[in-house]
């Protein structure tokens, strides 16, 4: 079980594995506060992303919480809250 905080780089990696990246989207860029929709990820992509985070980090993410997290910053915070780690997003 990981006790290190879940970071933006972790999220980038999981997003790529779960749903790939759209043409014209630079995931490596400053995306912390960009809406997932603008990054090309719809609800199913986020569901798959959440499911992979749960498996990999051994946490349970609340479904409503997942649905409410509309940006990488919000999702990272939610994961860290579940992990009980301090948020260190970037």
């Amino acid at each position: 079980m990981s006790t290190a905080p879940f970071t933006l780089d972790d999220l980038r990696r999981v997003l790529l594995e779960a749903a790939g990246a759209d043409e014209g989207v630079d995931l490596a860029g400053d995306i912390l506060d960009v809406h997932f929709e603008s990054l090309g990820y719809e609800s199913l992509a986020l569901l798959e992303t959440g499911s992979r985070i749960e498996r990999e980090y051994g946490v349970a993410l609340d479904e409503d919480l997942l649905a409410d997290a509309q940006t990488p910053r919000a999702l990272i915070a939610a994961v860290n809250e579940a992990l009980g780690t301090v948020q260190q997003a970037a």
């Binding site: 749903a19 790939g20 990246a21 090309g40 199913l44 992509a45 798959e48 499911s51 498996r55």
Partner: protein, 404 residues
């Protein structure tokens, strides 16, 4: 007067050639695309031969965003659509979204994707199953993904009637155009060469058990022993002749006639309904049998079914009354992809005045067919009949005519 509907773009993925040019070059020369299955180890199965599309690397053509959510059949359909649109010189971004529709066919959905997720379900647990399983296996997924990728919001749908479905989809595309949708993406690509798909195909009892690629799929031959399955097909861009003319598009030919029927109950003693489907297609095209220059046969490779098709063809055209060919002897039967690929072959045959051959086959004289075997035959070609039958009683026929 009904609207004339024409084909202005082709996108092909076939076992003997990826891309229209490669496919036609292979097909006119009788190049075989059948071999031992390579996508999994077939040695423990009764049938081991297939027509696999060579050299298709999805990553070379599609963004990574689409890869985790698509089966092989969808990837090939998306890429074939890109090619067909380029061929038709249509940029979907420049057209009103509701002016473009999509109707494809599917015989089995995304089997390989589904198999992978089911394996995760029973070996690792439900939390390992991809969220994309919710649609990636689904029959309608190719139409949906084509429509999303190209921003096509007009009418769309899928036809599921096994191998007849590819023709049924093209016919439905023609209907949509006649109801006012200017551009329709149609045709079909199927692909289910994976263990789960293989078992399902095996269950129908019509696959050959031959292990020799050139002696395995022999329709209308006394040694017919079943068929070899394949993957691939063709995507067609269809539009009204008027809109094609207005934008100065190159026209491959017209979808002139269509007929479909369903067979009577087995054992009823009534005549199989294939002949009727052919007659309906000819009547719809307002042509007589004498107007047809070549038939692209369904060519089941199962003696009883070959007999039914030969009897239907001789009833309509007379004994040896029309050249008949089955280029699918080079690819295997592509399920819903077969009909659209045969339509594409007919259109390409028109351009060259050349009937592609039925390979490996020695025609059984009893069938009384003028089968074009071994090598292509040159002939002036103006109209072709394409026949396709689906498991369970589906019969469909399409008449295609040359442009101009």
């Amino acid at each position: 007067m009904t609207t004339s509907v024409v084909v202005t773009g082709l996108g092909i993925a076939a076992p003997n050639g990826l891309g229209t040019r490669e496919y036609w070059e292979a097909t006119r020369n009788g190049k075989n695309g059948i071999g031992r299955v390579t996508r999994f180890d077939p040695s423990s199965y009764p049938s081991t031969l297939a027509g696999e599309v060579p050299g298709f690397v999805a990553e070379d053509h599609l963004p990574s965003r689409l890869l985790p959510q698509t089966d092989r059949m969808t990837r090939m359909a998306l890429v074939a659509t890109d090619w067909a649109l380029q061929d038709a010189d249509i940029d979907p971004a420049e057209l009103p979204a509701y002016d473009m529709g999509v109707v494809t066919a599917s015989s089995s959905g995304g089997f390989e994707f589904g198999q992978n997720e089911l394996q995760k379900l029973w070996s690792q647990g439900s939390q390992y199953v991809s969220a994309y399983q919710s649609f990636a296996w689904f029959y309608a997924v190719n139409s949906g993904q084509i429509s999303i990728r190209n921003g096509m919001k007009g009418p769309s749908g899928v036809i599921v009637s096994d191998e007849a479905g590819g023709l049924d989809a093209v016919a439905h595309g023609r209907r949509l155009i006649r109801k006012g949708t200017p551009v329709v993406v149609s045709g079909s690509i199927d692909a289910s060469i994976c263990p789960w798909g293989w078992v399902a195909q095996q269950a129908a009892g019509r696959l050959t058990r031959s292990t020799e690629p050139t002696r395995a799929y022999l329709p209308f031959d006394a040694e017919a022993s079943g068929y070899v399955p394949g993957e691939g097909g063709a995507i067609l861009i269809m539009e009204s002749a008027e809109s094609a003319r207005e934008r100065g598009a190159r026209v491959y030919g017209e979808i002139s006639g269509y007929g479909s029927t369903f067979d009577p109950k087995p054992g009823s003693g009534r005549e199989p309904a294939l002949r009727k489907a052919i007659e309906l297609a000819l009547a719809d095209a307002d042509l007589t049998p004498g107007d047809i220059d070549v038939v692209f046969a369904d060519a089941a490779g199962v003696p009883e079914l070959d007999r039914i098709e030969a009897e239907a063809l001789t009833a309509v055209f007379g004994a040896r009354g029309v050249p008949v060919t089955a280029p699918k002897t080079m690819t295997g039967r592509l399920y819903s992809g077969a009909g659209p690929l045969d339509i594409a072959s007919a259109l390409l045959a028109f351009e060259e005045g050349l009937i592609p051959p039925t390979v490996h086959v020695t025609a059984d004289d009893d069938y009384a067919l003028d089968l074009v075997v071994d090598r292509p035959r040159q002939a002036p070609l103006r109209a072709a009949l394409v026949v396709a039958r689906g498991y369970g009683g589906f019969n469909s026929a399409v008449v295609v005519r040359a442009a101009g």
